[in-house]
Amino acid sequence: MIEVQNLTKYYGDFIAIENVSFEAKRGEVVGFLGPNAAGKTTTMRIITGFMPPSAGTVRVAGYDIQTHSIEARRQVGYLPETTPLYTDISVRDYLDFMGGLRGMAPARRRTRIDYVIQRMRLEEYAHTLIGRLSKGYRQRVGIAQAVLHEPEVLILDEPTIGIDPVQVVETRELIKSLGKEHTVVLSTHILPEVSQICERVVVINEGHIVAVDRPENLSVRLRGTEQVKVEVRGPARDVSARIRRIQGVREVTQRDGASGASVYTLECDPGSNIREELASAIVQQGWGLLGLQAVTMSLEDIFLKLTTHEDEAKPQ
């Protein structure tokens, strides 16, 4: 649905993004993750045809955004970063205008406007001038116009910024449900959002893609090991020695836990899956097994690792 190939963008002499390539398939929600000034907005502006790239190509639903711009743009719903809206027009009139520009017939426009107004909980403000709405409601109008024409491709630049928690949950659900049949690319700084709604993450830093993967795979790929935490009551030295003998365990660190037990952190080979063997070994020795857990790296850790130790991560 979206094919981004070797995008490079210069602002004057400054390189905002360089050789950015990724793909998003139909029915996929792709999260675009990166610190401030990484180049997320720049990339999205190029995908939507607002700016041309300095080099590289973008294809949306098979149409090149530069040579078949209108056809490509027809497939896209876009929420720009700053949620720009006309201020002196009512919510309903605005949606009607945007629907018209996207070539929706009047009858379909009406039913869809009713639907998105209800879906984004905007009923009360349907006839209010947009300039008088609060920030969160403006954001809702922005999302409403992006999904209004049921586009094949949705590009959302930080969609849930400024919305209250209840509506955030609903908006994420909306994006997720849209992502079933459409293609969604969204940028965000909110890491739990990524693990909740994105099937794939593109991590970008200083204009370069540093990782593309499923959120849960990223942790293994990055660390190169799997981590297991186990809490055992028993003689610390013996326990450590026994754990070390299990196939696949590379390293064990011990730390005192609550009520005489110890917590052991195991670094294991990827894919070794030692938890069953570990549990039975401890129980056979007659020690008390208090807890056993595979540790996945939190997205925050991954993010920090990727963007602060760029050299350690391998772009895909």
């Binding site: 939507t48 607002f50 041309p52 209108i70 002196d88 520009l101 001038l129």
Partner: protein, 249 residues
């Protein structure tokens, strides 16, 4: 075409949702009303709108300067200042230019909205000729030609104003740029006084003012019509290009 009309309709709605359209209408009526009264205030005047169209009663350079055309020149850039500058300022241009709409449809839509307001302005002044028709016996030809001239001239002013509005995000700046371009064009025929032969002719021809004088006399010259339409088209084309280069900035 649908896109153009959609954009024009939205712009008109915005015009009447803000004071700007009313202020411009009031200003235009006030100024032209004065011109009208002034040109008829002495006894035994000829029943015509020459004072309104080209301004004659003040006499001298000023008399030739202050007229309906010049008031339009001053108001044109004010009418168009918002059209593109505000889109850039608010950032709404990002959604407009990523919608499946061609740049020239955007420009034409905005231009049409301005033209519609201009049409309303001119219709509102129709009571001047109406009064003349009721109380006098004016020559119809110059009246019709004069109004046609004002429409063509106004269209040109709007195109220049729209171009100026595409150049910056500041509405004030776009008014200033628009006025500079228009005043240059307007008074360029003065330069013809310093030349003989071809340059004299060129300076006369390039100024929209020269052509308008003919219209006010009731002379409709195809050359003048082509001049106005071509110059308007050129400025609209510049505006489209300016939008395109904005993408490259």
């Amino acid at each position: 075409m649908t896109n153009t009309l959609l954009i024009a309709r939205k712009e008109l709605r915005t015009y009447f949702g803000s004071p700007i359209a009313y202020v411009i209408m009031a200003a235009f009526l006030a100024f032209t009303g004065l011109l009208f009264i002034d040109s008829l205030s002495t006894p035994f005047r000829e029943a015509s709108l020459r004072g309104f169209f080209v301004g004659e009663s003040f006499g001298g350079l000023l008399g030739q300067t202050i007229n309906a055309a010049f008031v339009l020149l001053l108001l044109g850039p004010v009418l168009t200042m918002r059209l593109l500058a505000e889109e850039s300022k608010l950032g709404t241009i990002e959604l407009l230019l990523t919608a499946p709409v061609r740049d020239f449809e955007v420009v034409m839509g905005k231009f049409l909205a301005g033209l519609a307001i201009l049409g309303m302005l001119l219709v509102m002044t129709l009571y001047y000729p109406l009064l003349l028709l009721i109380f006098g016996n004016p020559d119809i030809g110059p009246l019709i030609a004069g109004y046609a001239g004002l429409l063509l001239l106004g269209g040109l002013f709007l195109a220049v104003g729209l171009f100026a509005s595409s150049l910056s995000t500041s509405q004030i700046a776009s008014v200033v740029i628009g006025l500079i371009i228009l005043l240059m064009f307007w008074f360029i025929n003065q330069a013809s006084n310093f030349f003989r032969g071809t340059p004299e002719f060129v300076f006369e021809f390039v100024s929209p003012r020269t052509h308008f004088t003919n219209f006010a006399r009731g002379i409709v010259d195809t050359q003048s019509i082509i001049y106005y339409i071509a110059l308007t088209a050129i400025f609209l084309f510049f505006t489209v290009r300016s939008l395109e280069t904005r993408r490259w900035r």
